[in-house]
Protein backbone atom coordinates (compact mmCIF):
# COMPACT_ATOMS: atom_id res chain seq x y z
CA UNK A 1 0.00 0.00 0.00
CA UNK A 2 1.42 3.37 -0.87
CA UNK A 3 0.92 6.58 0.94
CA UNK A 4 3.24 9.47 0.63
CA UNK A 5 4.40 8.79 -2.90
CA UNK A 6 0.87 9.80 -3.86
CA UNK A 7 1.60 13.32 -2.67
CA UNK A 8 1.69 15.30 -5.87
CA UNK A 9 4.51 17.47 -4.63
CA UNK A 10 6.61 15.50 -2.11
CA UNK A 11 8.97 18.42 -1.62
CA UNK A 12 6.10 20.72 -0.61
CA UNK A 13 4.71 17.98 1.63
CA UNK A 14 8.07 17.73 3.34
CA UNK A 15 8.27 21.49 3.86
CA UNK A 16 4.77 21.58 5.36
CA UNK A 17 5.60 18.65 7.65
CA UNK A 18 8.89 20.22 8.73
CA UNK A 19 7.07 23.43 9.58
CA UNK A 20 4.48 21.53 11.64
CA UNK A 21 7.18 19.58 13.47
CA UNK A 22 9.09 22.78 14.19
CA UNK A 23 6.00 24.57 15.48
CA UNK A 24 4.56 21.96 17.83
CA UNK A 25 5.63 22.19 21.48
CA UNK A 26 2.81 20.26 23.17
CA UNK A 27 -0.05 17.83 22.37
CA UNK A 28 -3.10 19.05 20.48
CA UNK A 29 -6.35 17.35 19.44
CA UNK A 30 -7.73 18.49 16.10
CA UNK A 31 -10.99 17.23 14.60
CA UNK A 32 -11.42 16.89 10.86
CA UNK A 33 -15.15 17.24 10.38
CA UNK A 34 -15.51 15.71 6.94
CA UNK A 35 -15.43 11.99 6.14
CA UNK A 36 -13.70 12.74 2.85
CA UNK A 37 -10.84 14.24 4.83
CA UNK A 38 -10.79 11.21 7.15
CA UNK A 39 -10.30 8.95 4.15
CA UNK A 40 -7.56 11.15 2.75
CA UNK A 41 -5.79 11.18 6.15
CA UNK A 42 -5.94 7.41 6.64
CA UNK A 43 -5.26 6.52 3.02
CA UNK A 44 -2.14 8.66 2.84
CA UNK A 45 -1.03 7.99 6.41
CA UNK A 46 -1.04 11.71 7.22
CA UNK A 47 -1.77 11.06 10.91
CA UNK A 48 1.38 8.94 11.06
CA UNK A 49 3.54 11.65 9.55
CA UNK A 50 2.48 14.30 12.06
CA UNK A 51 4.29 14.85 15.36
CA UNK A 52 3.27 12.35 18.04
CA UNK A 53 1.40 14.93 20.05
CA UNK A 54 -0.95 15.88 17.22
CA UNK A 55 -4.02 13.69 17.33
CA UNK A 56 -6.52 13.85 14.51
CA UNK A 57 -10.00 13.03 15.84
CA UNK A 58 -12.36 11.85 13.12
CA UNK A 59 -15.61 13.79 13.05
CA UNK A 60 -19.21 12.99 12.13
CA UNK A 61 -19.04 14.35 8.57
CA UNK A 62 -20.12 11.21 6.77
CA UNK A 63 -23.65 11.83 5.47
CA UNK A 64 -24.38 8.16 4.87
CA UNK A 65 -23.27 7.32 8.42
CA UNK A 66 -25.35 9.91 10.25
CA UNK A 67 -28.60 9.40 8.32
CA UNK A 68 -30.88 8.19 11.12
CA UNK A 69 -31.92 4.54 11.19
CA UNK A 70 -35.56 5.54 11.26
CA UNK A 71 -35.17 7.36 7.94
CA UNK A 72 -33.28 4.39 6.44
CA UNK A 73 -36.11 2.09 7.55
CA UNK A 74 -38.67 4.47 6.02
CA UNK A 75 -36.68 4.43 2.79
CA UNK A 76 -36.66 0.62 2.79
CA UNK A 77 -40.41 0.51 3.38
CA UNK A 78 -41.19 3.05 0.65
CA UNK A 79 -38.77 1.36 -1.78
CA UNK A 80 -40.62 -1.96 -1.28
CA UNK A 81 -43.93 -0.57 -2.55
CA UNK A 82 -44.89 -1.78 -6.03
CA UNK A 83 -45.93 1.66 -7.29
CA UNK A 84 -42.61 3.25 -6.29
CA UNK A 85 -39.37 3.73 -8.19
CA UNK A 86 -36.89 4.51 -5.43
CA UNK A 87 -33.83 6.48 -6.55
CA UNK A 88 -30.70 6.84 -4.47
CA UNK A 89 -27.01 7.56 -4.61
CA UNK A 90 -24.99 4.35 -4.80
CA UNK A 91 -23.48 5.06 -1.35
CA UNK A 92 -26.77 4.23 0.35
CA UNK A 93 -27.30 0.75 -1.16
CA UNK A 94 -25.56 -1.23 1.55
CA UNK A 95 -26.24 0.97 4.56
CA UNK A 96 -27.85 -1.32 7.10
CA UNK A 97 -31.39 -0.56 8.16
CA UNK A 98 -33.12 -2.68 10.75
CA UNK A 99 -32.34 -6.12 9.33
CA UNK A 100 -31.92 -5.25 5.65
CA UNK A 101 -30.64 -2.72 3.12
CA UNK A 102 -31.66 -1.26 -0.25
CA UNK A 103 -29.61 -3.90 -2.05
CA UNK A 104 -31.82 -6.58 -0.47
CA UNK A 105 -35.02 -4.65 -1.21
CA UNK A 106 -34.00 -4.65 -4.84
CA UNK A 107 -33.24 -8.38 -4.85
CA UNK A 108 -36.70 -8.95 -3.36
CA UNK A 109 -38.28 -7.14 -6.30
CA UNK A 110 -38.25 -3.50 -5.23
CA UNK A 111 -37.58 -1.03 -8.06
CA UNK A 112 -34.46 0.60 -6.61
CA UNK A 113 -32.42 2.65 -9.04
CA UNK A 114 -29.07 4.29 -8.56
CA UNK A 115 -28.69 7.76 -9.98
CA UNK A 116 -25.72 10.07 -10.27
CA UNK A 117 -27.78 13.22 -9.72
CA UNK A 118 -31.24 14.06 -8.36
CA UNK A 119 -32.05 15.51 -11.80
CA UNK A 120 -31.75 11.93 -13.12
CA UNK A 121 -34.52 10.94 -10.70
CA UNK A 122 -36.67 13.79 -11.96
CA UNK A 123 -36.16 12.57 -15.53
CA UNK A 124 -37.22 9.06 -14.47
CA UNK A 125 -40.39 10.62 -13.01
CA UNK A 126 -41.10 12.35 -16.33
CA UNK A 127 -40.61 9.08 -18.20
CA UNK A 128 -42.81 7.08 -15.80
CA UNK A 129 -45.87 9.24 -15.12
CA UNK A 130 -47.85 6.25 -13.81
CA UNK A 131 -45.27 5.50 -11.10
CA UNK A 132 -44.27 7.36 -7.93
CA UNK A 133 -40.60 8.35 -8.07
CA UNK A 134 -38.90 9.02 -4.74
CA UNK A 135 -35.39 10.38 -4.38
CA UNK A 136 -33.43 9.74 -1.18
CA UNK A 137 -32.21 13.27 -0.41
CA UNK A 138 -29.47 12.94 2.16
CA UNK A 139 -26.20 14.73 2.80
CA UNK A 140 -24.62 17.94 4.02
CA UNK A 141 -24.63 21.44 2.55
CA UNK A 142 -23.06 20.14 -0.68
CA UNK A 143 -25.89 17.84 -1.75
CA UNK A 144 -28.71 20.06 -0.47
CA UNK A 145 -28.51 22.67 -3.29
CA UNK A 146 -28.89 19.99 -6.01
CA UNK A 147 -31.96 18.61 -4.23
CA UNK A 148 -33.38 22.09 -3.75
CA UNK A 149 -32.96 22.81 -7.47
CA UNK A 150 -34.60 19.49 -8.36
CA UNK A 151 -37.69 20.31 -6.27
CA UNK A 152 -37.75 23.78 -7.85
CA UNK A 153 -37.66 22.15 -11.29
CA UNK A 154 -40.34 19.62 -10.38
CA UNK A 155 -42.72 22.44 -9.49
CA UNK A 156 -41.76 24.51 -12.52
CA UNK A 157 -42.33 21.58 -14.88
CA UNK A 158 -45.49 20.44 -13.08
CA UNK A 159 -44.12 16.98 -12.28
CA UNK A 160 -46.44 15.56 -9.64
CA UNK A 161 -45.16 12.00 -9.29
CA UNK A 162 -41.83 13.08 -7.80
CA UNK A 163 -40.99 13.41 -4.13
CA UNK A 164 -37.96 13.70 -1.89
CA UNK A 165 -37.25 11.70 1.26
CA UNK A 166 -35.21 14.40 3.01
CA UNK A 167 -32.59 13.93 5.68
CA UNK A 168 -30.20 16.83 5.21
CA UNK A 169 -27.71 17.80 7.86
CA UNK A 170 -25.69 20.98 8.55
CA UNK A 171 -22.13 21.20 9.83
CA UNK A 172 -22.10 24.28 12.15
CA UNK A 173 -24.70 22.94 14.65
CA UNK A 174 -22.71 19.68 14.80
CA UNK A 175 -19.57 21.63 15.73
CA UNK A 176 -21.57 23.37 18.43
CA UNK A 177 -22.88 20.03 19.77
CA UNK A 178 -19.38 18.52 19.80
CA UNK A 179 -17.97 21.48 21.74
CA UNK A 180 -20.82 21.31 24.26
CA UNK A 181 -20.35 17.59 24.90
CA UNK A 182 -18.88 16.80 28.33
CA UNK A 183 -16.41 14.35 26.84
CA UNK A 184 -15.16 16.83 24.26
CA UNK A 185 -11.39 16.82 23.75
CA UNK A 186 -11.38 18.79 20.50
CA UNK A 187 -9.20 21.92 20.53
CA UNK A 188 -9.49 22.93 16.88
CA UNK A 189 -11.40 22.06 13.72
CA UNK A 190 -10.53 21.46 10.12
CA UNK A 191 -13.78 22.68 8.55
CA UNK A 192 -15.10 20.87 5.48
CA UNK A 193 -13.91 22.75 2.41
CA UNK A 194 -16.69 21.83 0.03
CA UNK A 195 -19.43 22.61 2.53
CA UNK A 196 -17.84 26.07 2.79
CA UNK A 197 -17.64 26.37 -1.01
CA UNK A 198 -21.46 26.47 -0.89
CA UNK A 199 -22.14 28.17 2.44
CA UNK A 200 -19.07 30.41 2.70
CA UNK A 201 -17.25 30.98 5.96
CA UNK A 202 -19.74 33.33 7.62
CA UNK A 203 -21.22 30.77 10.03
CA UNK A 204 -17.89 29.99 11.70
CA UNK A 205 -16.45 33.13 13.38
CA UNK A 206 -19.15 33.07 16.08
CA UNK A 207 -18.32 29.42 16.85
CA UNK A 208 -14.56 30.09 16.93
CA UNK A 209 -15.12 33.00 19.30
CA UNK A 210 -17.66 31.31 21.57
CA UNK A 211 -15.67 28.11 22.07
CA UNK A 212 -12.23 29.70 21.60
CA UNK A 213 -11.26 27.16 18.93
CA UNK A 214 -9.36 27.74 15.69
CA UNK A 215 -11.43 26.71 12.67
CA UNK A 216 -9.46 26.26 9.46
CA UNK A 217 -11.35 25.68 6.21
CA UNK A 218 -9.49 22.77 4.64
CA UNK A 219 -9.53 20.85 1.36
CA UNK A 220 -9.33 17.12 0.73
CA UNK A 221 -6.15 16.34 -1.07
CA UNK A 222 -3.17 15.28 1.04
CA UNK A 223 -1.36 18.60 0.64
CA UNK A 224 -4.57 20.49 1.49
CA UNK A 225 -4.94 18.52 4.71
CA UNK A 226 -1.31 19.14 5.67
CA UNK A 227 -1.72 22.87 5.05
CA UNK A 228 -4.92 22.88 7.11
CA UNK A 229 -3.15 21.13 9.99
CA UNK A 230 -0.17 23.49 9.69
CA UNK A 231 -2.34 26.59 9.98
CA UNK A 232 -4.35 25.04 12.83
CA UNK A 233 -1.25 24.14 14.83
CA UNK A 234 0.19 27.62 14.32
CA UNK A 235 -2.95 29.17 15.81
CA UNK A 236 -3.05 26.69 18.70
CA UNK A 237 0.58 27.36 19.62
CA UNK A 238 -0.03 31.11 19.54
CA UNK A 239 -3.20 30.86 21.60
CA UNK A 240 -5.31 32.24 18.73
CA UNK A 241 -8.81 31.15 17.71
CA UNK A 242 -9.84 32.61 14.40
CA UNK A 243 -11.43 31.32 11.20
CA UNK A 244 -8.78 30.82 8.53
CA UNK A 245 -9.32 29.73 4.95
CA UNK A 246 -6.69 27.26 3.72
CA UNK A 247 -8.80 26.30 0.68
CA UNK A 248 -9.31 29.68 -0.93
CA UNK A 249 -8.98 28.30 -4.47
CA UNK A 250 -12.42 26.74 -4.01
CA UNK A 251 -13.95 28.67 -1.10
CA UNK A 252 -14.87 32.34 -1.53
CA UNK A 253 -15.90 33.91 1.80
CA UNK A 254 -19.48 34.33 0.61
CA UNK A 255 -19.79 30.77 -0.74
CA UNK A 256 -22.27 30.36 -3.59
CA UNK A 257 -24.98 33.04 -3.24
CA UNK A 258 -27.33 31.49 -5.83
CA UNK A 259 -27.24 28.13 -4.06
CA UNK A 260 -27.79 29.74 -0.65
CA UNK A 261 -30.81 31.64 -1.98
CA UNK A 262 -32.34 28.46 -3.37
CA UNK A 263 -31.73 26.60 -0.09
CA UNK A 264 -33.49 29.37 1.81
CA UNK A 265 -36.48 29.15 -0.52
CA UNK A 266 -36.95 25.36 -0.61
CA UNK A 267 -35.82 24.22 2.83
CA UNK A 268 -36.22 25.32 6.42
CA UNK A 269 -33.97 24.57 9.36
CA UNK A 270 -35.15 21.78 11.64
CA UNK A 271 -33.90 19.65 14.52
CA UNK A 272 -32.38 16.45 13.17
CA UNK A 273 -31.43 13.11 14.69
CA UNK A 274 -27.92 11.95 13.74
CA UNK A 275 -27.43 8.18 13.71
CA UNK A 276 -25.31 7.14 16.67
CA UNK A 277 -25.29 10.65 18.13
CA UNK A 278 -28.87 11.74 18.79
CA UNK A 279 -30.90 14.85 18.08
CA UNK A 280 -28.92 18.03 17.45
CA UNK A 281 -31.02 21.20 17.51
CA UNK A 282 -31.31 23.10 14.21
CA UNK A 283 -28.88 20.69 12.56
CA UNK A 284 -30.99 19.72 9.57
CA UNK A 285 -33.07 20.95 6.69
CA UNK A 286 -36.54 19.79 5.74
CA UNK A 287 -38.76 20.91 2.88
CA UNK A 288 -40.51 24.12 3.80
CA UNK A 289 -44.31 24.10 4.13
CA UNK A 290 -44.70 25.60 0.66
CA UNK A 291 -43.07 22.53 -0.89
CA UNK A 292 -44.74 19.94 1.32
CA UNK A 293 -46.36 18.25 -1.68
CA UNK A 294 -42.86 17.06 -2.67
CA UNK A 295 -42.12 15.60 0.77
CA UNK A 296 -42.12 11.77 0.60
CA UNK A 297 -42.77 11.52 4.34
CA UNK A 298 -45.96 13.51 3.76
CA UNK A 299 -46.93 11.62 0.62
CA UNK A 300 -46.38 8.11 1.98
CA UNK A 301 -47.62 7.42 5.44
CA UNK A 302 -45.08 5.05 6.92
CA UNK A 303 -46.01 3.65 10.30
CA UNK A 304 -44.89 0.78 12.49
CA UNK A 305 -41.18 1.51 12.12
CA UNK A 306 -39.39 -0.33 14.92
CA UNK A 307 -35.70 0.48 14.72
CA UNK A 308 -33.04 -1.76 16.20
CA UNK A 309 -29.30 -1.18 16.08
CA UNK A 310 -27.00 -4.16 16.68
CA UNK A 311 -25.80 -4.10 20.31
CA UNK A 312 -22.19 -4.72 19.38
CA UNK A 313 -21.95 -1.75 16.98
CA UNK A 314 -20.15 1.25 18.49
CA UNK A 315 -20.34 3.49 15.43
CA UNK A 316 -21.96 6.24 17.53
CA UNK A 317 -18.77 6.55 19.57
CA UNK A 318 -16.68 6.47 16.40
CA UNK A 319 -18.78 9.27 14.91
CA UNK A 320 -18.28 11.40 18.01
CA UNK A 321 -14.52 10.88 17.97
CA UNK A 322 -14.65 8.97 21.27
CA UNK A 323 -13.40 5.70 19.79
CA UNK A 324 -11.05 4.86 16.95
CA UNK A 325 -12.53 2.22 14.62
CA UNK A 326 -9.98 -0.49 15.35
CA UNK A 327 -10.61 -0.14 19.08
CA UNK A 328 -14.08 -1.65 18.57
CA UNK A 329 -14.18 -5.40 19.25
CA UNK A 330 -16.35 -6.05 16.22
CA UNK A 331 -13.94 -4.25 13.86
CA UNK A 332 -12.61 -6.59 11.20
CA UNK A 333 -14.12 -9.64 12.91
CA UNK A 334 -17.92 -9.69 12.76
CA UNK A 335 -18.00 -6.23 11.18
CA UNK A 336 -16.42 -5.84 7.74
CA UNK A 337 -17.47 -4.02 4.56
CA UNK A 338 -18.99 -7.35 3.49
CA UNK A 339 -21.01 -7.72 6.69
CA UNK A 340 -21.28 -4.20 8.09
CA UNK A 341 -22.93 -3.71 11.47
CA UNK A 342 -23.00 0.06 11.10
CA UNK A 343 -22.99 2.62 8.34
CA UNK A 344 -19.46 3.74 9.22
CA UNK A 345 -18.19 0.42 7.82
CA UNK A 346 -20.07 0.90 4.54
CA UNK A 347 -19.57 4.38 3.30
CA UNK A 348 -16.70 5.63 1.22
CA UNK A 349 -16.57 8.40 3.83
CA UNK A 350 -17.02 6.24 6.94
CA UNK A 351 -14.11 6.08 9.39
CA UNK A 352 -14.46 2.32 9.97
CA UNK A 353 -14.33 1.61 6.24
CA UNK A 354 -11.24 3.82 5.92
CA UNK A 355 -9.43 1.93 8.72
CA UNK A 356 -10.53 -1.40 7.26
CA UNK A 357 -9.32 -0.52 3.77
CA UNK A 358 -6.03 1.10 4.68
CA UNK A 359 -5.06 0.06 8.20
CA UNK A 360 -6.16 -3.44 8.96
CA UNK A 361 -2.83 -4.98 7.96
CA UNK A 362 -0.88 -2.18 9.36
CA UNK A 363 0.48 -0.22 12.17
CA UNK A 364 -2.69 0.85 13.92
CA UNK A 365 -3.51 4.40 14.72
CA UNK A 366 -1.14 6.77 16.39
CA UNK A 367 -3.26 7.09 19.48
CA UNK A 368 -2.57 3.52 20.50
CA UNK A 369 0.80 3.10 18.90
CA UNK A 370 3.70 2.50 21.22
CA UNK A 371 6.23 3.21 18.52
CA UNK A 372 8.74 5.97 19.05
CA UNK A 373 8.07 9.47 17.93
CA UNK A 374 7.81 10.23 14.26
CA UNK A 375 10.09 13.17 14.12
CA UNK A 376 10.88 15.34 11.21
CA UNK A 377 13.78 13.20 10.06
CA UNK A 378 11.99 9.87 10.21
CA UNK A 379 8.98 11.38 8.51
CA UNK A 380 11.13 11.89 5.48
CA UNK A 381 11.62 8.22 4.76
CA UNK A 382 8.08 7.57 3.52
CA UNK A 383 8.30 10.70 1.43
CA UNK A 384 10.74 8.92 -0.83
CA UNK A 385 7.91 6.67 -1.84
CA UNK A 386 8.41 3.65 0.35
CA UNK A 387 5.24 2.06 1.65
CA UNK A 388 4.24 2.88 5.20
CA UNK A 389 2.24 -0.29 5.69
Amino acid sequence: MKYIDEFQDPELARRLLDDIHATVTRPWAVMEVCGGQTHSIIRHGIDQLLPDGIELIHGPGCPVCVTPLEVIDKALEIASRPEVIFCSYGDMLRVPGTGRDLFQVRSEGGDVRVVYSPLDALRIAQQNPQREVVFFGIGFETTAPPNAMTVHQARKLGIRNFSLLVSHVRVPPAIEAIMQSESCRVQAFLAAGHVCSVMGTGEYPALAERFRVPIVVTGFEPLDVLEGVRRTVRQLERGEHTVDNAYARVVPPEGNPAAKAMLADIFEVTDRAWRGIGVIPDSGWKLSARYREFDAEHRFSVTGIDTREPDECRSGEVLQGLLKPHECEAFGTVCTPRTPLGATMVSSEGACAAYYLYRRLGTGSRSTSTAGSVNSASAKAPLEGSPVV
Binding site: Q8, R43, G90, D91, Y116, H194, E221
Partner: protein, 92 residues
Protein backbone atom coordinates in the same frame (compact mmCIF):
# COMPACT_ATOMS: atom_id res chain seq x y z
CA UNK B 1 -21.75 11.16 -3.44
CA UNK B 2 -19.87 13.74 -1.46
CA UNK B 3 -16.93 13.81 -3.83
CA UNK B 4 -16.50 17.10 -5.65
CA UNK B 5 -14.96 16.45 -9.04
CA UNK B 6 -13.46 19.21 -11.16
CA UNK B 7 -14.35 19.23 -14.85
CA UNK B 8 -14.08 21.36 -17.98
CA UNK B 9 -17.15 22.92 -19.54
CA UNK B 10 -17.47 21.73 -23.16
CA UNK B 11 -20.78 23.37 -24.05
CA UNK B 12 -23.73 25.11 -22.43
CA UNK B 13 -27.36 25.20 -23.51
CA UNK B 14 -30.85 25.75 -22.15
CA UNK B 15 -32.78 22.52 -21.62
CA UNK B 16 -36.29 22.55 -20.15
CA UNK B 17 -35.65 26.14 -19.14
CA UNK B 18 -32.54 25.10 -17.21
CA UNK B 19 -28.95 26.05 -17.94
CA UNK B 20 -27.17 22.74 -18.55
CA UNK B 21 -23.55 22.09 -19.51
CA UNK B 22 -21.65 19.13 -20.88
CA UNK B 23 -18.65 18.73 -18.60
CA UNK B 24 -15.58 16.60 -19.22
CA UNK B 25 -14.12 14.81 -16.19
CA UNK B 26 -10.84 13.39 -17.43
CA UNK B 27 -12.49 11.65 -20.37
CA UNK B 28 -15.95 11.02 -18.90
CA UNK B 29 -18.55 13.49 -20.19
CA UNK B 30 -21.59 14.24 -18.02
CA UNK B 31 -24.55 16.57 -18.14
CA UNK B 32 -24.22 19.15 -15.40
CA UNK B 33 -26.63 21.81 -14.18
CA UNK B 34 -24.98 25.22 -13.98
CA UNK B 35 -27.88 27.28 -12.64
CA UNK B 36 -25.82 27.96 -9.50
CA UNK B 37 -22.98 29.48 -11.55
CA UNK B 38 -25.00 31.62 -13.94
CA UNK B 39 -21.96 33.24 -15.59
CA UNK B 40 -19.96 30.02 -16.09
CA UNK B 41 -18.49 29.92 -19.61
CA UNK B 42 -17.41 27.24 -22.07
CA UNK B 43 -13.74 26.38 -21.49
CA UNK B 44 -13.83 27.19 -17.77
CA UNK B 45 -13.42 24.61 -15.01
CA UNK B 46 -15.85 24.04 -12.18
CA UNK B 47 -16.14 21.66 -9.26
CA UNK B 48 -19.21 19.48 -9.59
CA UNK B 49 -21.25 17.73 -6.92
CA UNK B 50 -23.85 15.16 -8.03
CA UNK B 51 -24.37 16.82 -11.39
CA UNK B 52 -24.29 20.45 -10.21
CA UNK B 53 -21.51 22.96 -10.77
CA UNK B 54 -21.05 24.72 -7.43
CA UNK B 55 -17.79 26.68 -7.73
CA UNK B 56 -15.25 27.74 -10.32
CA UNK B 57 -11.74 26.39 -10.24
CA UNK B 58 -8.60 27.45 -12.09
CA UNK B 59 -7.32 25.10 -14.77
CA UNK B 60 -4.08 24.07 -13.03
CA UNK B 61 -5.85 23.12 -9.81
CA UNK B 62 -8.51 21.24 -11.74
CA UNK B 63 -5.99 19.22 -13.75
CA UNK B 64 -3.95 18.33 -10.67
CA UNK B 65 -7.02 17.19 -8.77
CA UNK B 66 -8.30 15.13 -11.70
CA UNK B 67 -4.92 13.43 -12.11
CA UNK B 68 -4.89 12.53 -8.42
CA UNK B 69 -8.49 11.25 -8.50
CA UNK B 70 -7.76 9.09 -11.50
CA UNK B 71 -4.69 7.61 -9.84
CA UNK B 72 -6.66 6.83 -6.68
CA UNK B 73 -9.54 5.26 -8.61
CA UNK B 74 -11.97 7.88 -7.33
CA UNK B 75 -13.32 8.69 -10.81
CA UNK B 76 -14.46 5.10 -11.20
CA UNK B 77 -16.08 5.23 -7.77
CA UNK B 78 -17.99 8.36 -8.78
CA UNK B 79 -18.90 7.51 -12.36
CA UNK B 80 -18.66 3.71 -12.57
CA UNK B 81 -21.55 1.24 -12.37
CA UNK B 82 -22.75 1.55 -8.75
CA UNK B 83 -24.37 -1.90 -8.69
CA UNK B 84 -21.14 -3.48 -9.78
CA UNK B 85 -19.20 -1.45 -7.18
CA UNK B 86 -21.66 -2.40 -4.42
CA UNK B 87 -21.54 -6.07 -5.42
CA UNK B 88 -17.75 -5.98 -5.45
CA UNK B 89 -17.82 -4.35 -2.02
CA UNK B 90 -20.11 -7.11 -0.76
CA UNK B 91 -17.63 -9.83 -1.71
CA UNK B 92 -14.48 -8.15 -0.39
Amino acid sequence: MCLAVPGKVLDIEERNGTRMATVDFGGVAKEVCCEYLPDLQVGEYAIVHVGFALQRLDEDSARQTLALFEELGLLEEEFGDPWELAAREATK
